[in-house]
């Protein structure tokens, strides 16, 4: 089997474990320690930030402007609106400044 296939299958098993795991494990405890809960709450934002920040580090003006516009739009609009706004700025700026 190819490496790609292994990644997909292992990723699928890992994902299923997160979806059934909370019921199997966490619900057995009376309550979660506040620090553990605070850490768990931080997981998605922390992981996803690491995929944006280094990309911004090596980005040019078109990419940085797109990120900035998308961030501002996301304060009012939903995920789709901010995504389309960022993509539009990115494509337009790459088109005009190369």
């Amino acid at each position: 089997m190819s490496t790609t296939l292994w990644i997909i299958i292992a990723g699928a098993v890992a994902t299923y474990l997160t979806r059934i795991g909370g019921h199997l494990v966490i619900s057995r405890f009376e309550r979660i320690h506040p620090r553990v809960e605070a850490g768990l709450n931080a997981v998605p934002a922390a992981v996803l930030t690491t995929l944006v920040a280094p990309a911004a580090l090596s980005a040019g003006p078109a990419e940085l402007t797109a990120l900035a516009v998308a961030a501002v739009v996301s304060l009012r609009g939903g995920l789709m609106t901010m995504f389309l706004a960022g993509a539009a700025v990115l494509i337009a700026m790459r088109h005009f400044i190369g």
């Binding site: 795991g21 019921h23 690491t50």
Partner: protein, 242 residues
């Protein structure tokens, strides 16, 4: 129609806005997966077995950077870790289902699925299996088919750079980061992760910046003094994309 069929279609109807909102991301996933070296079949299989948009996009982004396989799997796990909270919260409300139905139900426990289940439970209704699967299967079939379409279409894109394909993911991930901004200490956590990941990226190098940056944010959150009554409820975590 029987009661079960009625419930199934009620659930299916609830999925419509989510299907519309997630369609572009399914297509984007398919296109990027092929762009990063997946075959059409592999891209479709990933959508069919993982069924979690953000984690799939993270997976192919890291795959394109030739990150070690185990680290890709770990990152998928980390992005999906929030489901543990949904799973713990929803467990008591579907405990009356036969265990096979429960095992199937947990596979489909995406962000919008959790949010809708919590919502109808708050209205005093039971979370029924037929209703649950009506929503889940509609989302699932659309997600898998759209990923496949994106993968087929992605190969036809002549210049990915011109339409910004290589930088759409950071924009999308930024959107997800922003969607968590109501959570306690969101800004300092994001700053901690951003700074740590950038330093790690420049010093240790890719792919370690992902683990190091994420760990910095999580440890920061756990180390801060606990303020009573501010723990986020899982309701706040629901996003549009599964």
């Amino acid at each position: 129609m029987s009661d079960r069929q009625t419930e199934f279609w009620q659930g299916a109807r609830l999925s419509v806005p989510v299907v519309v909102a997630s369609a572009p991301f399914a297509i984007l996933f398919g296109a990027l997966a092929v762009d990063n070296g997946f075959s059409v079949a592999e891209a479709t299989l990933m959508s069919a077995t993982i069924f979690g948009g953000a984690s799939q996009l993270v997976g192919i982004e890291l795959f394109g950077q030739h990150v070690a396989p185990w680290l890709i799997v770990l990152s998928i796990f980390a992005v999906n870790f929030r489901h543990v909270l949904y799973s713990a919260a929803i467990g008591p409300h579907i405990a009356h289902w036969p265990w096979v139905q429960q095992a199937i139900g947990y596979f489909f426990l995406t962000d919008p699925q959790y949010a809708e289940a919590e919502r109808i439970r708050e209205q005093g209704e039971k979370v029924g299996f037929a209703w649950y699967m009506g929503m889940a299967l509609t989302l699932y079939v659309c997600w898998v088919v759209e990923s496949c379409i994106g993968a087929l279409f992605g190969r036809l894109i002549p210049d990915p750079h011109a339409i910004g394909l290589d930088f759409l993911l950071p924009i999308y991930f930024l959107g997800l980061v922003m969607s968590f901004r109501k959570r306690p200490r969101w800004l300092p956590i994001v700053v901690a992760s951003a700074v740590a990941s950038m330093i790690a990226y420049k010093t240790v190098g890719s792919p370690w910046h992902v683990s190091i940056g994420a760990l910095a944010g999580v440890l920061f959150a756990a180390a801060m003094p606990v303020r009573p009554g501010e723990a986020a409820t899982v309701d706040e975590t629901a996003e549009v994309v599964s």
